[in-house]
Structure formats: C-alpha cells, structure tokens
Symmetry: C2
Subunit: 210 residues, 2 copies
C-alpha cells in the first residue's frame, strides 16, 4: 500500500482540519456563538457525536466571555484538564487556572469523609473570593458536589460539565442541567479532560484570536 501524506505546513494543519470538519458536517447549521466550540471539540476528539451532545444554557458563551474579561479564574477537576488549557491565551486574558487534587488538605479531607478528592476540590474552589469557571472533564462526583453546594447557596459563575464514564456520569450532568446555572454540558457518557480543555480554549480563542 502506498501511504501519501498531505503536504502542509504546521500552521495550516488546524485550519485545514476545521475545513474538513465543516465539510463533513454537510451544511448543518449551529448557533454562531456555539459553532466554534462544537467544532473544536470535534477537532479534539474526531468524534462527531459532539455535534449533538453539547448542551449550552441560554447566553452561556457571552457569559463566559464576560467572565474571562472580568478576570474569573478556572478550576479543573484533574491535572490533565489543567494541562490542556492553552496558557498563552489564558495569560493574554489575564486569567488563572487552579487544580487542587494533590493538595494535602484535599487528600486528607477526602480520606476522612470517604469522598472523592475531586468532590472535595469543589468545596475548596467554592471558598475562592472570585467568580469561578468550573471545567470538569473527569469526575461526576465533582458535578454532584457542585449541585449540593448550589443547594446550599453557592453560585458557580459557569460550569463546563463534561465528565466521561459509566457510573453516575449521565445523572450528574442531568443534575447540572436541571439547575439554574450557566453551563456547557456534554450530555450522555462521553466527555473527558481533553474535551473540558478544548471548550475552555475555544471560549478563550473567540476573544484572543479575533
């Protein structure tokens, strides 16, 4: 078999990828605010299911942009999601990203209370004195804990809720969808730390690449 590589410069690869994604979506139309986010998630996963899975609360993209402009911080549930967030774009916007999963107080509290560390991280994030964008790509328990904190009066600025998996993942996302909070959710089992990071990056690029 002859394997032929497309001759293309590194700078052109992303542009060409988005062209292919657009072609394969065969004229499907999306909300223009949401479209770059949906396409970036497909770019990150090569999985066109996300053309149908992603659920945006009313006006959430504009809300996210305002939050970035106002210096909201991002909290992730995993180091991997934090690692995937584009630090150059984040610095341009003057933003910061935190992950508490290896903090000693979090590890101790999780053990003591029989909770996941991801859940305990949400408690710690809720104590920050700034608006928080949550980017949750792995742990449904983090979303469940956020839901409980909302019942107690806490108000996340935005929840990007895209954990992946088989146990309580679908339900945890539906909990967030049932709550009155700005959110971007990947309905169903699919998602991941890469998807969480891709959504954060897509939101930032709408501000930094125009």
């Amino acid at each position: 078999m002859k394997i032929e590589l497309e001759q293309i410069s590194p700078m052109e690869i992303e542009k060409r990828s988005f062209e292919i994604i657009t072609e394969e979506l065969q004229g499907r139309t999306f909300d223009p605010w949401q479209e770059p986010i949906i396409k970036r998630v497909i770019h990150t996963t090569a999985d066109f299911d996300y053309a149908d899975n992603l659920v945006f609360s009313e006006g959430v993209v504009q809300t996210a942009h305002n939050l970035f402009r106002e210096g909201a911080c991002i909290v992730t549930d995993t180091k991997m999601a934090m690692s995937g967030i584009n630090k150059t774009a984040l610095a341009t916007l003057g933003g910061e990203v935190y992950n508490f999963i290896t903090d000693e107080d979090v590890i101790a509290q999780a053990k003591e209370q029989g909770l996941t560390r991801s859940a305990v991280c949400m408690d710690k994030a809720a104590k920050l004195d700034r608006p928080v964008i949550f980017a949750i790509g792995n742990a449904p328990t983090a979303l469940v804990r956020l839901y409980e904190l909302m019942q107690e009066g806490y108000r996340p600025a935005l929840i990007i809720g895209v954990p992946v998996g088989f146990v309580n993942v679908v339900q945890a996302k539906e909990l967030i969808l049932s709550a009155d909070v700005p959110s971007i959710i990947a309905r169903g089992r699919k998602g991941g730390s890469n998807v969480a990071a891709a959504i954060v990056n897509a939101l930032m690029y709408q501000l930094t690449r125009n």
Copy 2:
C-alpha cells in the same frame, strides 16, 4: 424528571465501570493480554469504537512489560499525555516520563526548520541513551518523524501511536503499522492524549495491580 444517583463508594466506581463495559461488549472476546488495555481505553473515552480500532503488534504487551521492568523511559508528544500518566504506578516501576515540547532548543529548532515542535521532540528523544516508549496522542507529525528516524536506523523500543485528527493522522498511523516496530495503534482518526495515557497506565497496571 427524577435523577437517581447510584450509591457507590469512590473505590468501587472503576470496578463497576469495567463491569458495565464488559456487559456492553456482550461476550466479545479479546486476547487476554490486550483486553485490559482495550477496556481501559473505552473507560477513558466511553467510546466503544476502540474495541475495533486498536491494533497490537505481535507480542507487544509482553514487550511493554519487559521494557517497564528494565527501566525504559516514556516520551510523550504533549504535556497533557504526560499529565495523564499515573505517577504512582510509574514510580513503583522505577520509570520516568519526559516531554520536551517547551524546551528552548526544541522551540528554536522547530522555528528554524519549519517543523512542528512535536516532530523535533522525537529527534531529542532518539538521542536518549535508554530504550524509549513513545506515547503519541496528538501529533501525527511526531509519528512521521519517528518513521523517518527508523529509516535512518533508529529503533524505538515501543510506539503507542494514537494521535487524533483530520490531517495526516490516518496516514501517519499506517506508516507506523507498515514498519517493523512494536506498536499499539488506534487505527483511523480517533485517539488523543487521554488515550495515550490510558494505554500507558493499562500496561503499567498489569504489572503493579497484580
């Protein structure tokens, strides 16, 4: 709608997830060496396509185990893949993981030669004086560069080749499959840094969790 969460302890979630994956695979049988790897990738992505996509070269799982036992190091193409590798398991095996993507020499050389930084990282990895397990979850250009290095006589100890995307991804994977090198490849467009890390972790867990 009533949303009911399954009552389950954090420690049981992974076990229950693998049970669900096994149920949904409906009695499909796999090579017993490969099965935990396939299932962990499905666990990481909630995408059953990986039951068909993953291609293992002859005896590659045992080769990987020997490499871990002999202190081979891992080189990834992204910080995100590095971040997803379980550091506890890696430390138990006495292994190390490297990523060179933000190294100044790599950045300079990529700019100078019009290459991706991921490709240049492969050159740097090939100069290590130890066997290298490559875990490539993002950049097809890294796989293409590895192929070129092999033509020049370099011998990677193992290539985990699971980049995701639309431009030269399919072809880059076929190049590696056409070469005489131990490999685990996700055929087609799908893959990702999370998939690369999941495969490394699955291989390590076969040694550390038994």
